[in-house]
């Protein structure tokens, strides 16, 4: 009998090393360096085929955070008044602090967004397993992502059923709170039962093979082809960033 071929997928570790380097720079480097990296990152995101979703996420979650941070810290820090907006006085120390936080957040978010626009989470999981990560943890992650979508659909169905039974979201908070348990009980019950059944299946397949050393070595779902050049280049970039940081401390 012919053994079915395991699908192959390429992975370049340079992607995650660059992301790690940028996250490191977001904490360790000065503001002017961070702005320079940010400019490069901005160009990289412009070239990404998923630039729309990257910028949508940024505008939705990060920009409001940055703007509110500028208002709160700009007003309530001490220091010289830089400008006034009606009765509000924005001070230099607060604006510098808010700029540092804004640059850090933007760097981290854009770096992670770029990474996920280039690499699928399944590929990352298989790569981590191939590199020796505990596959139980990888499985938990993949399963929780899958379960979120299923549970959201089920919750929507329960909500529709509860609405038909008289759930009214315009009533006061205590009346609305009464509907939380009737929504969560069927959801929890069915998924706990399903999880326990899934656990039986995993036990039958000797999933916790660390407990049973004699069990067969698991076959990977996908064979990962690691780019050796990218691995070396990535390590050099990260080490260089750490080196610059150490040099800056002692100089």
């Amino acid at each position: 009998m012919r053994t079915p071929e395991i699908p192959r997928r390429a992975y370049n570790p340079l992607d995650h090393y660059i992301t790690l380097t940028i996250v490191f720079a977001a904490f360790a480097f000065r503001l002017e360096w961070q702005i320079a990296i940010l400019a490069a990152l901005f160009v990289a995101t412009l070239l990404s085929h998923r630039r729309k979703s990257i910028y949508r996420g940024f505008l939705k979650f990060v920009l409001p955070l940055i703007l509110i941070g500028f208002v709160i810290n700009g007003i309530f820090f001490t220091g010289n008044v830089v400008f006034m907006l009606g009765p509000l006085k924005f001070r230099d120390q607060g604006l510098v602090f808010a700029s540092t936080v804004a640059a850090r957040l933007t760097l981290i978010v854009l770096a992670i967004s770029c990474y996920f626009s280039r690499v699928k989470s399944e590929t990352i999981s298989e790569y981590l397993v191939a590199r020796g990560a505990d596959r139980r943890l990888v499985y938990i992650y993949l399963l929780s992502v899958a379960m979120v979508h299923l549970m959201r659909d089920k919750l929507q169905k329960i909500y529709t059923a509860q609405s038909a039974r008289g759930l009214d979201t315009t009533k006061n908070v205590f009346s609305r709170a009464r509907y939380l348990l009737p929504m969560l009980v069927p959801l929890s019950y069915s998924y706990i039962a399903e999880s326990l059944d899934r656990g039986i299946a995993l036990r039958a397949a000797n999933f916790s093979d660390r407990k049973y050393p004699g069990s067969p070595v698991p076959v990977p779902l996908v064979e990962i082809e690691v780019d050796r050049g990218g691995l070396v280049a990535g390590r050099i970039i990260l080490l260089a960033a750490i080196g610059i940081w150490i040099w800056r401390i002692f100089s």
């Binding site: 955070l65 810290n73 938990i140 929780s144 959201r152 909500y159 908070v173 939380l180 019950y189 656990g199």
Partner: protein, 197 residues
């Protein structure tokens, strides 16, 4: 170290792995349920609390970490930075569950209040240094207020957490207690931490 590893092997096995994934997903989905019925609470740790109770503290910590990872990757990156807070929640709940706080509703409330204070302590430095005190959590106006009355960023973030977290966690503990009382015994008996319920 060997003790911790053996505990990890005990709590993270074929039986509990799907439960941990369920708990992580529940954390996210309950957030959606709260939005649907427009409640002024987060209740985003119910899965962590439930798994810490029915499996153990390490499983609870993992549940919280994976929930925040998933939330961070798919919804809002800010959640990734709050993973240490979920570790505190998982660990504390796992420990107090063994003391029997989920066997009586009136024991769950004070435990939840203490949990809320611990969560506020853990989240304040993260909110202050990573986000400048702003988390877009709906209680940012409290940070604004505390800053206005002269508190530092860390103090403001802590006081904001203290104003919101204890009530949120006490309600979460209570909900988990009621959820566990409504799940049939035949199912509960199959859970590793059945004795805690």
């Amino acid at each position: 170290m060997a003790e911790a590893l053996s505990r990890f092997e005990r709590e993270v096995n074929a039986t509990t792995i799907p439960l941990i994934a369920f708990g992580a997903a529940l954390n996210i989905v309950v957030g959606q349920a709260v939005q649907l019925i427009k409640l002024p609470l987060y209740l985003d740790s119910i899965g962590t609390i439930m798994i810490a109770c029915v499996v153990g503290p390490l499983a609870g910590m993992l549940t919280g970490a994976f929930a925040n990872l998933t939330l961070g990757f798919f919804f809002n990156y800010a959640f990734i930075f709050f993973i240490p807070v979920t570790l505190v929640i998982g660990a504390f709940t796992g420990i107090v569950a063994k003391l029997g706080v989920f066997r009586r509703w009136y024991a769950a409330i004070p435990a939840g209040l203490v949990q809320g204070v611990l969560a506020a302590v853990a989240s304040a430095p993260i909110a202050a240094f990573m986000f400048g005190g702003v988390t877009m959590g709906g209680t940012d106006f409290l940070v604004l207020y505390f800053r206005a009355i002269g508190k530092s960023i860390v103090q403001s973030a802590f006081l904001q957490g203290l104003a919101a977290d204890p009530v949120d966690k006490a309600v979460s503990y209570l909900i988990v207690y009621f959820l566990l009382t409504r799940i049939p015994r035949s199912i509960l008996l199959r859970l590793p931490g059945y004795a805690n319920t």
